[in-house]
Subunit: 236 residues, 2 copies
DNA sequence: CAAGAATACTTGTATATACAAGATGACTAT
DNA sequence: ATAGTCATCTTGTATATACAAGTATTCTTG
């Protein structure tokens, strides 16, 4: 093998198809036999490509059925900022949300840069407060690149969270986030219904699709009500 | 195969040896041929066990040399609270630390429970402030189970961080942490040399070895100086 | 003694083959 | 028409074999 090994070439080909949006979430990918025909390799080699991509969570397989593109959700593993609606209902809470703002604005410099668009161009902005048992739990301020989600302003986010909607219209390929402790400003205090000042956990998250930066979100929660958890272990 | 497949049995055997502390960090594990002799399987089957454990970060392999138990560090992947000394030096900063306290105390209830020992029994406690360029960056208050690290009080933590020392004397098998935003109390303000109040990022971490809970640590950093980052992507 | 070659180990890649087992649709007998 | 069977697809497990390539030791040769 002068260059890359065959199984790696096949892996790369599969990833490219997914990144380019040719094969979408939950869609079937070629079977071991199809791949081995197509790439002129043995079934075991094609199998290796599929298996390794499965192990890192890009594909899922099921005996008798086939191999499928995994949902981006499952990618996330540890530092996933889980869908807050799921998180609340999962622990038996009552989840509601309020859309405080849903508009088109002119991007000031820091937002334009974070979204990779021109300064003063139009971008979409939403402000949503997530509640657990009617108490505000998290405020989500999100800026969206209109080129990649043109119908963002027409959505009903009490039914489908922005993150869920965006993963549908612009399949995610990458996400970065930072976690920090901040003091809420007045606006945030109002949104979260906080009377006395309290430190907040702020997650900043930017998401990419194959066409570019999709959105930039600030998720702010009161330190007393929200924490992130992580868990590492040896057992497989 | 009536029960578990052979490669899974071998994987389990390897994990057990590591959990039990029989095979330590960076130590060699049996080669593919040795395993295939021992378990009466083909080399490919033994290889599969080793490869899969490598892919999840439990082992590392190197052509011509052999297969080794990975360092627990590399386990961590995303939410790893990286060794702060490494983190600072890696970004070109000057790392120093001060040991403010290193003592044996009687465990009050919450600490005893977190460590899984009797209330009022003796536990070790250390308070260390980590500095970057002579500015305090993080305070680490740690409680240690003396049964699993009896010589903890004799260590020089300016040379080897507590986490590094503990992984040596009690190989880690599991870690849990939570991240939250808190307001520092007076003590912490003093430790971190903070004059005006500022929200802090607090990481609580408990670590396990095969013999039980090793330690319980609170890592507190000023929100303005420290953040956690995460990164998810499709490319392998 | 020192430099290089031979060797014996290791992991890495690739193939061909066999059978097991889950899923599905078509076909058949009741 | 419905229930069961069968054929055929899929992935899953397991083996035997071959050669490539990296590492370390030993042996040979100058």
């Amino acid at each position: 093998m002068t260059e890359q090994p065959k199984f790696a070439q096949i892996k790369q080909h599969i990833i490219e198809q997914i990144r380019a949006g040719v094969w979408l979430e939950h869609q079937r990918v070629p079977s071991e036999n199809e791949l081995s025909d197509q790439f002129k390799v043995s079934r075991m080699t094609a199998r290796r490509a599929l298996s390794e991509l499965t192990e890192v969570g890009i594909l899922t397989r099921s005996q008798g059925l086939g191999t499928f593109v995994a949902s981006f959700k499952s990618q996330s593993s540890l530092l996933e900022i889980r869908n807050i609606a799921d998180e609340v209902t999962q622990r038996g809470g009552d989840y509601t949300c309020m859309v405080l703002s849903l508009e088109s604005i002119f991007a000031i410099a820091p937002i334009a840069i974070a979204l990779g668009v021109e300064i003063d161009s139009q971008v979409y902005r939403s402000v949503i407060v997530h509640h657990e048992n009617d108490e505000p739990l998290q405020v989500e301020e999100r800026f969206v690149n209109p080129a990649l989600a043109s119908k963002y302003l027409q959505q009903d986010f009490t039914a489908l969270t922005p993150h869920e909607y965006l993963t549908q219209v612009a399949p995610l390929t990458e996400a970065r986030h930072t976690v920090e402790a901040v003091m809420p400003n007045e606006e945030v205090c109002q949104w979260l219904n906080m009377f006395n000042e309290e430190p907040c956990l702020q997650v900043i998250r930017r998401t990419w699709s194959s066409q570019g930066i999709v959105s930039f979100a600030r998720l702010i929660s009161p330190g007393s009500k929200y924490r992130l958890g992580g868990h590492l272990t040896f057992k497989k």
